[in-house]
């Protein structure tokens, strides 16, 4: 009896190990791969402050960073823009050109391309993106961003929104995220790896 129980246990463990192996080596990478392939893909059609259109094809051809925010943002968006400026500065010291960075508004009602143009003008490489509410909503879905309009008691509204910077490689595939206020050395390390991954 004890022998038999041991055998069953051994087979059970072997089966679990096999399942774990299948998960780690086949299923999980496939899941991750699909995120990398689909993130940022969609039929949104927006307007960039450099006069160009911003669509899923914009991400092709050159690595980029994408960040969602709004100008009525007291802290997170100005800080992130400042951080992007610091990364660009660090890249410049290594003789690298600025990383293309898109600041997509989650508040197109107030953030017109015209006013965004000034808003992002002080950071090298940053391009503002706006458009109709419908097209912005499509982009928010495509990039799996959280954005929610919150009315304020005294009138007007603010926006809750994701604070991640998303990095994309030169084929427009999602590469990695940079967290809000991530250590600039770590952030630039990710960007260096992104640039090195170019074929």
């Amino acid at each position: 009896m004890p022998m038999r129980a041991t055998a069953i246990l051994a087979w059970g463990l072997a089966l679990l190990a096999l399942l774990a192996f299948v998960w780690v080596s086949f299923l999980q990478p496939r899941l991750n791969e699909s995120v990398a392939d689909t993130l940022g893909r969609g039929d949104y059609e927006l307007v960039a402050t450099d006069g160009s259109r911003f669509t899923e094809d914009t991400l092709d051809g050159e690595p980029s960073a994408v960040f969602f925010g709004f100008a009525h943002c007291p802290e997170v968006c100005p800080t992130t823009l400042g951080d992007i400026g610091i990364w660009q500065d660090m890249l410049a010291k290594e003789g690298k050109p600025p990383l293309r960075a898109f600041f997509v508004t989650v508040d197109p009602e107030r953030d017109t391309p015209d006013m965004l143009s000034d808003y992002v003008s002080w950071v090298p490489g940053v391009i503002g993106v706006s458009g109709s509410q419908d097209e912005i909503d499509k982009a928010i879905m495509a990039f799996r961003i959280y954005a929610q309009r919150i009315p304020l008691e005294g009138g007007g509204y603010t926006m809750d929104h994701s604070s991640l910077v998303l990095l994309f490689d030169e084929r427009g595939r999602f590469f990695q995220t940079i967290r809000y206020q991530e250590d600039p050395d770590k952030a630039v390390d990710k960007i260096r790896r992104l640039l090195a991954s170019q074929s």
């Binding site: 943002c73 007291p74 823009l81 003008s121 090298p124 919150i150 994701s162 604070s163 809000y180 206020q181």
Partner: protein
């Protein structure tokens, strides 16, 4: 590029800007130190105002309102990161300053919010702000405008998380 030079200059300033401002205002049992706001970006119509408030008395007080000629209106807010989502809310009923305690208004947390700014907040300038407390009443103080920090940590001891 002019913008680049400006940025480099700002970055250089930031590394040096660890000197405390040290301004202190007293209103009855309340002690308010180190008020500051950060310079705004072009077309940024809102801004946060920060300070440290200590209640040296033995009754709680509440910061119920703020006003400034720099903004059409001001509100008392709390900001918090929920995972990677930034959320900001008005604090209903105002910000309580408990007896014998210190409450920090700092980037990423409690702040008074300038809304519909009448113009940009420029580094090196000061803006006058009137705070209204439920018990202690009104006090007007000068709020210096400092350079936008390196991340949320630029302003020395006022550092974020």
């Amino acid at each position: 590029m002019k913008a680049k030079q400006l940025f480099a200059a700002t970055a250089a300033l930031l590394t040096l800007s660890t000197t405390p401002i040290g301004a202190e205002t007293t209103l009855e049992a309340l002690r308010i130190v180190d008020p500051f706001a950060r310079a705004t970006l072009p077309n940024q119509p809102v801004a946060g105002g920060f300070m440290v408030i200590t209640n040296t008395g033995d009754t709680d007080d509440t910061l119920v309102a703020a006003s400034s000629s720099a903004a059409a209106r001001m509100e008392i807010h709390e900001m918090a990161m929920d995972g990677d989502v930034m959320r900001m809310r008005e604090i209903e009923g105002g910000l309580i300053i408990p007896a014998g305690e210190t409450v920090m208004l700092k980037p990423g947390g409690f702040h008074i919010m300038f809304m519909d700014l009448s113009g940009p907040l420029v580094e090196g300038n000061e803006t006058e702000v009137t705070l209204t407390f439920e018990m202690a009443g009104d006090v007007t103080l000068a709020m210096p405008v400092v350079a936008r920090g390196k991340g949320g940590m630029g302003h020395g001891s006022h550092g974020g998380n």
